[in-house]
């Protein structure tokens, strides 16, 4: 199978998957035992008001028609309105998504900074104390309930040491004295653009603990994968050649070997990035982080189904596209790749 054909088939598969995803999310919204119309109109609404809401929401139409209407709305960027606040969901997403993305991005940087070096050292010095340490560390990290880790971090760094803030994205004082002008929604970028360094420092301090907690699973994963691929790569002939050429350890391990060992790790991590957008809810609850995850969980507990479904759909579309991007990138880099 040629490369062009692979790419076309992969794109077709992605479209098929997106259709399937939309059917499932639509199905979930219809699975709900409660009646969306009466939720929309309110508990005490009259029968007429409920009937009006039913027609307004299109619930009187046949199911397939409702589905196509839903798809049409989504394609136009209309995710409907919250049954509680009656706010357009897309407006909420614009506020909450950047907060979560910022959190996940910082946690990803932490993941790479801790995971890759430990994985390389562990693979390079197999069965050394460093190796034993990082393997145990990796197992602990992949088995860690992140919400508990979040609580422990709070206990240590906030209650005991009082080094860092307890939660939220920014302190109240900072928000009043030097308010953050919202440009991108990423506070680190917004404050840096505005040259508002007091707020920048404050935002960074708020980011440390939640992103550290969120990073734990990725760190374990990165150590394991980097170690395994390092061990494999180090047995190859070009590494022997590098040793023979008299390169230093540092050059062999961190340049020659890592260059090849890091590819599979980065592929997995890019999927992990999107995975963490949903994983972030567990951390956001503990740190009162005003992000997508908390917004979602609140909607779930309030049975606000348009929100529940829209968030699931948006995150999954992200996931599918990332998956597609990773596969295509791999096809471009690696000539051996083909479908299956």
């Amino acid at each position: 199978m040629g490369k062009g054909e692979y790419i076309i088939r992969r794109l077709a598969l992605a479209i098929l998957v997106l259709v399937g995803v939309s059917i499932i999310t639509f199905g979930i919204s219809r699975l709900v035992p409660s009646d969306p119309a009466s939720l929309h109109a309110g508990i005490r609404a009259s029968r007429e008001a409920k009937e009006a809401a039913r027609i307004k929401l299109g619930l009187d139409r046949p199911l397939y028609e409702q589905y196509f209407r839903y798809i049409g709305d989504v394609l136009r960027g209309d995710f409907g309105i919250s049954v509680r606040t009656h706010r357009p969901i897309i407006d909420d997403l614009r506020i909450f998504l950047p907060a979560t993305l910022e959190l996940v991005a910082v946690s990803m940087i932490i993941t790479l900074m801790i995971g890759i070096p430990l994985g390389v050292l562990s693979g390079a010095w197999k069965d050394s104390p460093v190796d034993h340490f990082s393997r145990v560390f990796a197992v602990v990290n992949v088995s860690m309930p992140v919400f508990w880790l979040a609580l422990l971090l709070q206990l240590l760094f906030v209650r005991q040491l009082d080094w860092l803030p307890l939660g939220a994205r920014v302190s109240k004082e900072i928000a009043i004295i030097t308010p953050i002008e919202r440009i991108t929604g990423f506070y680190l970028i917004d404050t840096a653009l505005a040259g508002n360094w007091a707020a920048f420092r404050d935002v960074l301090r708020h980011l440390i603990l939640p992103s550290l907690a969120l990073a734990s699973y990725g760190i374990g994963l990165t150590i394991r994968m980097t170690r395994a691929t390092m061990v494999e790569v180090l047995q190859q002939k070009y590494i022997t050649a590098a040793w023979a050429a008299g390169l230093t350890r540092r050059e062999v391990f961190f340049r020659q070997a890592l260059k090849n060992a890091i590819v599979p790790t980065l592929m997995v991590l890019s999927l992990n990035f999107v995975w963490q957008i949903s994983g972030a809810m567990l951390v956001e609850i503990v740190f009162r982080w005003p992000g997508l995850g908390r917004y979602w969980v609140d909607a779930i507990l309030m049975i606000d189904f348009p929100i529940v479904v829209s968030v699931a759909l948006v995150v999954t579309i992200f996931y599918v596209l990332t998956n597609l991007f990773v596969d295509l990138l791999q096809a471009v880099i690696d000539p051996r790749v083909s479908l299956e």
Partner: protein, 303 residues
């Protein structure tokens, strides 16, 4: 391994003698993996604790939710070894009784996922063609959701309860087994003994049931052992969010959800349930690695 003669041709080796010998060899190999062995012992202790929970604590009624307002948030002591919670209930009792749903969700999810996923994968791999296409594209769709997201969404739609949480996680999990089983079935069906059965006219479903599935059980079971820890983690995450076991019945996840609100006054209340989750998940992960090394040496991690 000796093949006993009275076997039907091509069937999976299932004579008891051979099995016994095989399992003894495996046990010997497994025993060398210290971490896996210790993990197995700890898991046994937790399972025993879950089974005998009501008899292991002097406060089984508090464990099930009865409030004891006279002793709110007391630190660990001789009467309450792990302290008491916001309603004065013995944390040890809550953890013991909470271990029942917390542990069993791992087993249930993996079993259910295996029961749905494996036959589908075997059918897809054996038949190929349009059946394969149809099954695998459905699998692709399910796998294109982040697992936690799909489980939470299903469980939100079905309504919060232990049973629904279990069902939702399984729904997010089965496709992995379909993929695994399919890959195995595809390579199995080329083998001579399957071709022979086909040649003598054995019906397809009989071949799948008698020859394909028994031969792909090992890798599936290895995967299942490795997955229990993650399933337990996900179960606790769901009930932490409020979608699993409902209060006042305990579960490690929902205990943590309450405990985080009383963190200043009773850190022990949050510490122990979380530690239990970590310990159990870690033991299952280590056990899974050990079991894989013994049962499936080809996929052995590079040591």
């Amino acid at each position: 391994m000796a093949m006993p003669r009275e076997e039907t041709p091509g069937a999976a080796p299932s004579a008891w003698g051979a099995r016994f010998l095989e399992s003894r060899l495996m046990w010997r190999a497994f025993r060398r993996d210290r971490l896996a062995l210790v993990s197995l012992v700890i898991i046994f202790m937790f399972v025993a604790g879950a089974i005998f929970a009501p008899w292991l604590t002097p406060y089984p009624d508090q464990g099930m939710g009865k409030a004891n307002l006279k002793e709110k948030l007391e630190p660990p002591s001789r009467i309450h070894p792990l302290g008491t919670d916001d309603l004065g209930r013995d944390v040890m009792a809550r953890i013991l009784l909470g271990s029942r749903p917390s542990l069993s969700i791992g087993f249930f999810v993996v079993t259910l996922a295996m029961l749905i996923g494996t036959p589908l994968g075997a059918i897809a791999g054996y038949f190929g063609g349009p059946i394969d296409q149809a099954i695998m594209r459905i699998t692709d769709v399910f796998l294109s959701f982040p697992a936690l997201l799909l489980a939470v969404a299903f469980s939100a739609a079905l309504g919060p309860s232990f049973f629904n949480a279990m069902l939702s996680i399984s729904l997010a999990w089965w496709p992995w087994y379909t993929r695994l089983a399919r890959a195995q079935a595809v390579s199995l069906k080329e083998q001579t003994f399957i071709e022979a059965s086909r040649a003598i006219g054995v019906p397809s479903f009989t071949i799948i049931r008698r020859h394909i599935i028994p031969n792909l059980v090992t890798p599936v079971l290895v995967q299942a052992t490795m997955d229990i820890g993650s399933a337990i983690l996900m179960g606790s995450a769901l009930s932490f969010v409020g979608l699993g076991v409902q209060l006042p019945r305990p579960d490690w996840g929902n205990m943590l959800n309450v405990a985080r609100l009383y963190f200043d006054d009773g850190p022990w209340f949050a510490f122990f349930p979380g530690f239990a989750i970590l310990l159990v998940a870690m033991c299952f992960n280590l056990l899974g690695d050990g079991v894989r090394d013994v049962l499936d040496p080809q996929s052995r991690r590079t040591e």
